[in-house]
């Protein structure tokens, strides 16, 4: 095994981890406000399509990214209204968002490009090194500079999230909503408001994670291009034990598994690469089994909050 294989693998891991970070943070913000969201996959799909379409039309991947986030918010408002205001079962409604958003994304693509049209392609967001005109094969230069703005944003967001939840007043209140909404309400925290804000953040991040796939990762859009990343993100939140740092490590680890399985797939190894793809899911089931139900995430997660209840 030579060095380039290792460095390439590491670089690829970082690439694969970036969309996961966005999606996992989306899940984290949602769960921290007590909303378990299994519809991240769908939000990412619609974000991905929007990002693709907008950058195809405008030629600007950045605009695509922005509108992808906006679309994520819009679709997530359906989830928010149903689960927060109507108190619908969160998991069920997350699943519905998956069905709906995937159908919507596929539909918009069909309508715009027509059935069976030749594969449309877009330009990807440029990396910092290419913007600066630096070309180097040095591993560290590549790792640190040959990245799109979104990669820096992803890591910045992780840092921000860690600080927000641990050091700020607002972050503390936010967490209280997910842990014990009634107690939060008695302290004058606007529980419903925080939950809606959470849904906006979640929608935006999930939309961005999806848009990343079509503005920074692949030049084409195909249905199902999110490929389970929304669920891996859910896994990453559980595996990372609901903390920003943990989520980052989980995403890097899952990104590494993903990069490894792609390498295996290409090299034609006899070891089925799918076993590596299974790791996030099996790891999550294992983690859940080991930590037990009591410590599994914010205590108020999954339960509807009703104002006046006797």
């Amino acid at each position: 095994m030579d060095m380039t294989f290792v460095t390439n693998l590491l670089l690829a891991s970082v690439h694969m981890a970036t969309p996961l970070i966005f999606l996992a943070l989306a899940e984290l913000y949602s769960q921290r406000a007590g909303l378990v969201h299994i519809g991240i996959e769908g939000l990412a799909a619609i974000g991905s399509l929007t990002g693709f379409l907008v950058s195809y039309i405008s030629g600007s991947p950045m605009t695509g990214m922005f509108l992808g986030a906006l679309m994520g918010i819009l679709v997530n408002m359906i989830y928010a209204y149903a689960t927060i205001t109507l108190c619908a079962e969160q998991t069920v409604y997350g699943m519905i968002i998956n069905i709906f958003a995937l159908a919507l994304a596929s539909f918009i693509y069909r309508v715009y490009f027509g059935a069976g049209a030749s594969l449309a392609q877009v330009n990807l967001m440029s990396t910092l090194s290419s913007a600066l005109g630096i070309t180097s094969d040095n591993f560290f230069v590549e790792l640190l500079l040959d990245q799109t703005l979104m990669v820096y944003l992803a890591y910045g967001l992780v840092l921000f999230t860690a600080v927000y939840f641990n050091k700020t007043k607002s972050g503390l209140n936010y967490k209280a909503v997910g842990e014990y909404p009634k107690a939060a309400a008695t302290l004058g925290i606007n529980v419903i408001g925080v939950k809606y804000v959470a849904s906006i953040i979640c929608g935006a991040l999930a939309g961005m994670g999806g848009a990343y796939l079509t503005t920074c990762y692949s030049t084409t859009y195909v249905d199902g291009n999110v490929a389970g990343r929304g669920f891996i993100a859910l896994a990453a939140v559980i595996f990372g034990r609901w903390s920003a740092g943990g989520v980052l490590l989980a995403c890097l680890f899952f990104g590494f598994c993903d990069a490894l399985q792609i390498r295996l797939q290409i090299s034609g190894s006899s070891m089925p690469y799918q076993f590596f793809q299974m790791i996030p899911y099996i790891a999550t089931v294992a983690v859940l089994t080991l930590i037990g139900a009591k410590k599994a995430g914010p205590k108020g997660a999954g339960k509807p909050y009703r104002k006046e209840e006797r």
Binding site: A82, E89, M95
Partner: protein, 350 residues
């Protein structure tokens, strides 16, 4: 007040379907086609000829299985979102038996169906056991296991049972395939109907089914009344998984014949949605599955007739689900109930 609960449970899905169609028609009109022509084509495509009807029923068959799977578990108060994985596990063992053991004909078919059910049930036991003994969230676990099953199936058709250069398994031999009874509809459809009828009978005409429903509606009361709550929960997982696994076998032997990328994709969540729209009534759930299959089959004809892409039908289906589940949540809200009660009082006063 007496029947308003039942009335609402029928009204919500009906209104949702109507709203979804109105939006669907608006989209069709915006795309420049005539909604009337499109709907006509949709209808003809799904039910216009005997052949089309048979296609619809054939497409409905796997959906009936996965929706019954979801329905049964829900009735016991547990959310089995793993129907897709259980369906796949059933089809995997079925594929192995049908293509590798050398068994053919009826014995092979019977063994395949049985093994499919057993494997589906075993796969569903994992979330069941974790729920009962570790108190874990069965929904998250069953979703994770869907992906494990799907990837495992991928190992099967790309490696272990791969046949030829394309990543797919060998086809089920002709003599092991399910008989076509009516156009494209096979005995698999009949099996689905029988399973649905059996579940219906079990839930509403046996003491065990009665207790299982009571567990699903109020676990504490069930426990206080001496019902073996944990046993019922585990049982509901296993039976629900077995239904899906049986469906996986029937789909492989009746329609698909080989495992290939995309096999059964989306069936699990679709099934859950259909069970919800069918209000967890097995017979209604089956009807909903056929309705959704019709929307899918008919959409091709609609595309041919009007040029509107088939995915309009997917949007309509998704909207039906979006509206129904939101509507059902809404009518459970205390404020909605109060408003309804007030309306009744006014009526009575008038």
């Amino acid at each position: 007040m007496k029947h308003s609960g039942k009335l609402i449970s029928v009204l919500v899905p009906l209104v949702s379907v109507m709203m979804a169609f109105v939006i669907g028609c608006a989209i069709i009109a915006i795309l420049g086609a005539s909604p009337v022509t499109a709907l006509q084509a949709l209808w003809t495509g799904a039910f216009g000829t005997a052949r089309n009807i048979s296609t619809t029923l054939s497409r409905a068959t796997p959906l009936i299985f996965t929706s019954l799977c979801a329905c049964f578990a829900y009735r016991c108060g547990v959310f089995n979102l793993g129907g897709e994985g259980q369906f796949m596990m059933g089809s995997i063992i079925c594929c192995y038996i049908a293509t590798r053991t050398g068994l053919t004909g009826l014995p092979a078919i019977l063994l395949c169906l049985l093994a499919g059910a057993v494997f589906g049930g075993l796969w569903a036991m994992i979330p069941g056991i974790l729920k009962v003994f570790r108190g874990q969230n069965e929904m998250i676990i069953s979703i994770m296991l869907n992906y494990v099953a799907s990837l495992f199936m991928s190992v099967i058709y790309t490696n272990w049972l791969r046949d030829g250069t394309v990543p797919q398994t060998a086809a089920v031999p002709d003599e092991t395939r399910l008989t076509r009874i009516f156009g494209r509809a096979t005995t698999g459809f009949l099996i689905a109907l029988v399973v649905g009828a059996l579940i219906y009978y079990f839930l509403f005409n046996t003491s065990m089914g009665f207790q299982l429903r009571a567990v699903g509606l109020n676990m504490t009361t069930a426990e206080y009344n001496g019902f073996a709550v944990k046993k019922y929960i585990l049982l509901s997982f296993i039976v629900s998984g077995a239904i899906a696994g049986l469906g996986g076998s029937a789909e492989l032997l009746g329609t698909q014949y080989r495992l290939i990328s995309g096999f059964a994709s989306g069936y699990g969540f679709d099934g859950v949605a259909m069970a919800l729209i069918g209000q967890l009534h097995p017979l209604a759930t089956m009807a909903v599955a056929i309705f959704f299959a019709a929307l899918r089959v008919g959409s091709t004809a609609m595309q041919t007739a009007t040029g509107v892409p088939t995915s309009v039908s997917d949007i309509i289906q998704a909207l039906v689900i979006v509206f129904t589940v939101a509507g059902l949540a809404m009518v459970k809200l205390p404020s909605f109930k109060t408003a309804l009660a007030r309306l009744h009082m006014k009526k009575e006063a008038a």
